[in-house]
């Protein structure tokens, strides 16, 4: 037994043999978590991120900024505490280590320190209200249960995970190319989905209305159990973002991967779902007839799904089809199976809390690690480091000379490095520039303001003179002048 394990005081650890001296049973508990928060969780990096450059070094920094951010902790036994705030990295770190939360959520930056919220009104001038918040997205694979047959609910495997991969590609490309955002962090949610944090200043300052607009821009899939046709793409051509997503990501993925891997056309039950989406009953019956006939015959060595898909496409896309609804039918089918299904509510409101990266998921023990959108094809959710695995790796390493950067000796190292180099550093650089520019602009403005005040005084004097002249001739001035005096 290592010292670590002895300290944990656990009696029921299974030690299999000499080679297993460092083995840590695969589970999730407060003790493991305590070590994780003690040695591995990147407190300082999280602090730097959440400070967005307001570290006090530049006169333009807002020293209150970090302290106005809400965190919430879910403790063991599902105790949930909101409106936690901290004024320094030390306070943050100590609180996490002490409370050992099973989950940490990040909320918005408020107008004042959340701890003081009760002193402020609900409305009017002096309010407690969110002022900044990253633009966030949450995609959950259980929302795709109707199009994956390998798993359901919370399970995920390498057959269906690629649905998340293509969601990342579609959304990430659009956020950058269409919306012009640059500082985007994708994070594995620990079990069955991904989160996206858009951290540009412009994004953090979006109003709820603007967030809703962006979410609606991405909203294409309108399904629930009651509708057959969940995607409708009217219009003569596809909107550029949709067309690009189709040709660059969705079509290829659907035809090469999803269709054969999930056997979407191989059995009657499955192909009926697709036939239901064809608005022209005669086309659907024609295909149905062909596929029922060819149930056992194998026409070629090619995958039956692919063969049938080609048949479907050739009928629907042939020049003969004049019916309105058929124009985009093939694309609609592909979209309904593959287009990202976002949780709209998460993105629309500034005060929505979202799980912090580098948390550990209690049900899987996996760490919520960042995902590189440029290499998301390589991401494998089944090999994401788990809590026990990391502790094992810690044990394996030799004597600990360097208390810092323990993560470097573990599988977590790769993730933290990626977080720093690809996301945090460019973000902080941009924040610093923003702070400097804004500061300089304010200086310039206050110089201008002095001269402005002279002008306005003059105007004011002129006004008053006019007012006086009106009132002194009250009886003869026209009603119209009176109306003007009061209405503009």
């Amino acid at each position: 037994m290592t010292k670590e394990q002895a300290d944990n005081g656990r009696d029921d650890m299974v030690i299999d043999g000499p080679g297993q001296a460092n083995a840590v049973p695969d589970e999730f508990n407060a003790n493991y978590l305590r070590i994780y928060y003690g040695k591995l969780f990147p407190h300082a990096d999280m602090f730097k991120w959440m400070s967005y450059g307001n570290d006090g070094k530049h006169p333009g920094c807002d020293k209150s900024y970090f302290g106005r951010r809400e965190f919430s902790f879910t403790l063991e036994n599902d105790i949930y505490i909101r409106f936690q705030s901290f004024n320094s990295v030390t306070e943050l770190e100590n609180s996490i280590k002490e409370k050992c939360p099973f989950k940490i959520d990040i909320g918005p930056v408020y107008s004042v320190d959340p701890a003081k919220r009760h002193a402020y009104a609900q409305s009017g001038d002096n309010v407690f209200t969110p002022v900044e918040r990253e633009l966030v997205f949450d995609i959950d694979i259980s929302d795709y249960d109707d199009v994956r047959y390998c798993c359901t609910g919370a399970d995920v495997c390498l057959e269906c995970w690629p649905l998340m991969t293509i969601a990342i590609k579609v959304i990430d490309t659009s956020l950058r190319d269409d919306f012009g955002f640059n500082h985007i962090l994708w994070v594995y949610s620990g079990r069955r989905g991904v989160h996206c944090w858009v951290c540009d200043g412009k994004a953090r300052r979006l109003t709820n209305e603007q967030r809703a607009a962006i979410a609606d821009y991405f909203y294409v899939y309108k399904g629930n159990e009651n509708s057959h046709k969940k995607i409708s793409l009217p219009g003569l051509v596809l909107y550029p973002f949709l067309a690009r997503s189709y040709t660059e990501v969705l079509k290829g993925f659907f035809e090469a991967k999803l269709l054969p891997n999930q056997n979407l056309l191989a059995s009657e039950e499955r192909y009926e779902k697709i036939l239901e989406m064809i608005p022209d009953a005669s086309v659907a019956s024609e295909l149905r007839r062909r596929w029922q006939e060819n149930k056992r015959a194998s026409m070629s060595k090619d995958d039956i799904n692919i063969v049938r898909w080609e048949q479907l496409k050739s009928i629907l896309q042939s020049g003969k089809q004049k019916m309105q609804g058929l124009r985009r039918c093939v694309e609609e089918i592909v979209f309904s199976y593959t287009y990202p299904r976002l949780d709209m509510e998460v993105s629309k409101h500034m005060n929505h809390l979202l799980k912090a990266p580098f948390c550990v998921h209690p049900k899987t023990g996996r760490v919520c690690v960042p995902i590189d959108p440029n290499n998301c094809d390589e991401f494998d959710p089944t090999t994401v480091p788990t809590l026990s695995q990391l502790l094992e790796e810690l044990n394996r390493g030799g004597p600990r000379q360097d208390a810092e950067n323990e993560w470097d000796r573990t599988s977590l190292g790769e993730s933290v490095t990626f977080f720093r180099t690809s996301f945090l550093q460019p973000l902080l650089k941009s924040c610093k520039e923003e702070i400097e520019n804004s500061y300089n602009a304010k200086l310039q403005q206050s110089k201008n303001a002095l001269s402005w005040s002279h002008v306005s005084l003059k105007v004011l004097l002129n006004r008053t003179e006019t007012d006086l002249s009106i009132s002194s001739t009250h009886s003869s001035e026209t009603l119209y002048e009176v109306v003007l005096m009061y209405t503009y």
């Binding site: 269409d178 209305e209 219009g235 003569l236 051509v237 596809l238």
Partner: protein, 452 residues
């Protein structure tokens, strides 16, 4: 904002750009006292016409035509300068009139915004651009070079909406996407690197939003000034005009009994069943049930009955009889008779009060124990459905009526009820309970050859 045209020939004929005022400032003018009221009433006709059109659910193209027709009918003047003056003066006077309550402000804001929207749309592009720069919208016109490089994408966006891009005349403006959330949400603009490329016709909605926002704030300021200074100061001159304008209903006022002459007290029960609109049926049923009605209900029903043709003596007898179980004859004479006579113009100022229009009835909010107001607005869904069924409305029609109610088209709901009960259409729509009564009697008479 500099406007750079893309390879267009400049329009060199000096077309008089029709001026669409923003009502932010006004030149000093001389106005006669009567013109004050006349101008305001003319504008009010336009706004009420718009209100009517919106209530009827007219489509945007129909509304545009309606707005322009209304303007032509009421506000046109051969000399452009005079027209502009009338435009401006009438707007400011109505601002005073409609600033005084939240409900009035909302109505005025909505109508003026609709009016502005359609007038802006029909303006020339020079006029439109001039207005945009007045609003200081942060729009940069897209340069030739950029337009050429984006033409394909812009065309794609247009075709995705079922439109075409008339390339030769296309003028686009570049604006941060945050400024046009509605267009982004609907994927109706091309966006690239955070910029949205907005077509000129889409600019309309943006300009209108600015106009609305400005007017909304101005109305609140005006209200403050009204309550704090003007009302008292202008007690003798401006205030009476303003207060009268607000309640003016511009259709027939049903104060003279017309086609059907008198209705006597024995006819009321019968006509109530066949020809009263729901609001009056309800009040009538309640007074029979409770042997009482509170003031609001007495006014609404009482004036309606007057408009229907009930003479004063019959009215007195009616109310006295209905109240008899609860109110002694003596007490009735002391407490209620006076008000009834007042309504008929036999007391006090001798003003012959006019029956309430739908607009007025819809705008009141009944309190506890009240039964007046518009039932389409205030009844719970359950109660409304039950009431409609009792009137003999088929279940299919009830659904249609409820649909209108959910969309807050109360007068349309009443119109549909009329049509369902009488089996004939009512193209004009219901604007006044007495109109409902008269139309109903007309339909029944043509069916039976006699007044029901």
């Amino acid at each position: 904002m500099e406007v750079v045209q893309s390879h267009r020939k400049s329009s060199s004929n000096n077309v008089i750009v029709s001026i669409l005022p923003l009502y932010r400032s006004a030149p000093p003018l001389e106005v006669r006292l009567e013109d004050f009221e006349f101008f305001a009433i003319d504008r009010l006709r336009v706004l009420k016409g718009i209100s009517d059109g919106l209530c009827r659910g007219k489509k945007p193209e129909e509304m545009e035509k309606l707005v322009l027709d209304l303007w032509k009918a009421n506000m046109r003047h051969p000399q452009a300068v005079e027209e502009v003056n009338k435009d401006i003066i009438s707007h400011f006077v109505l601002r005073l009139v409609y600033c005084r309550t939240e409900e009035l402000r909302k109505w005025f804001l909505s109508m003026e915004t609709t009016l502005f929207r359609h007038r802006f749309r029909r303006g020339s592009s020079e006029a439109q651009r001039a207005l945009m720069s007045e609003f200081k919208l942060p729009y940069k016109a897209v340069s030739n070079a950029e337009f050429e490089s984006l033409k394909d994408k812009l065309g794609q966006v247009a075709r995705s909406m079922g439109q075409t891009l008339a390339a030769a005349d296309a003028i686009f403006y570049k604006v941060p996407f945050e400024e046009v959330p509605d267009l982004v949400a609907g994927r109706r603009v091309f966006i690239h690197k955070g910029h949205a490329y907005v077509a000129i016709n889409q600019v309309v909605s943006l300009v209108v939003t600015q106009f609305r926002s400005y007017l909304s704030k101005a109305l609140i300021l005006t209200n403050r000034k009204w309550t704090s200074t003007i009302r008292e100061q202008e007690k003798d001159r401006l205030t009476p005009i303003v207060e009268a304008l607000c309640t003016s209903y511009l259709g027939p006022d049903y104060s003279q009994q017309q086609e059907f002459g008198e209705i006597s007290i024995k006819d009321i029960d019968q006509v109530a069943k066949t020809s009263f609109p729901l609001c009056m049926r309800h009040l009538f049923e309640k007074v029979k049930e409770d042997h009482h009605l509170k003031h609001g209900g007495r006014m609404q029903l009482g004036l309606f009955l007057k408009g229907v043709g009930l003479k004063l003596d019959d009215a007195l007898a009616f109310w006295k009889a209905e109240f008899a179980p609860k109110v002694s004859a003596e007490r009735f004479d002391k407490e209620y008779a006076y008000n009834i006579r007042h309504n008929y113009g036999r007391e006090g100022k001798r003003t012959d009060y006019t029956p309430y229009s739908c607009q007025k009835i819809i705008s009141v909010t009944p309190g506890i124990g009240d039964h007046h107001g518009c039932p389409y607005r205030h009844f719970s869904e359950e109660n409304l459905r039950a009431a409609l069924v009792r009137m003999g409305v088929s279940s299919r029609a009830v659904e249609d009526v409820m649909d209108k109610v959910h969309n807050r088209h109360y007068q349309l709901a009443c119109t549909l009820t009329f049509e369902a009960v009488h089996g004939s259409s009512c193209d004009a729509g219901i604007n006044h309970p007495n109109q409902y009564f008269i139309d109903s009697q007309r339909v029944l008479q043509s069916k039976n050859g006699s007044v029901a």
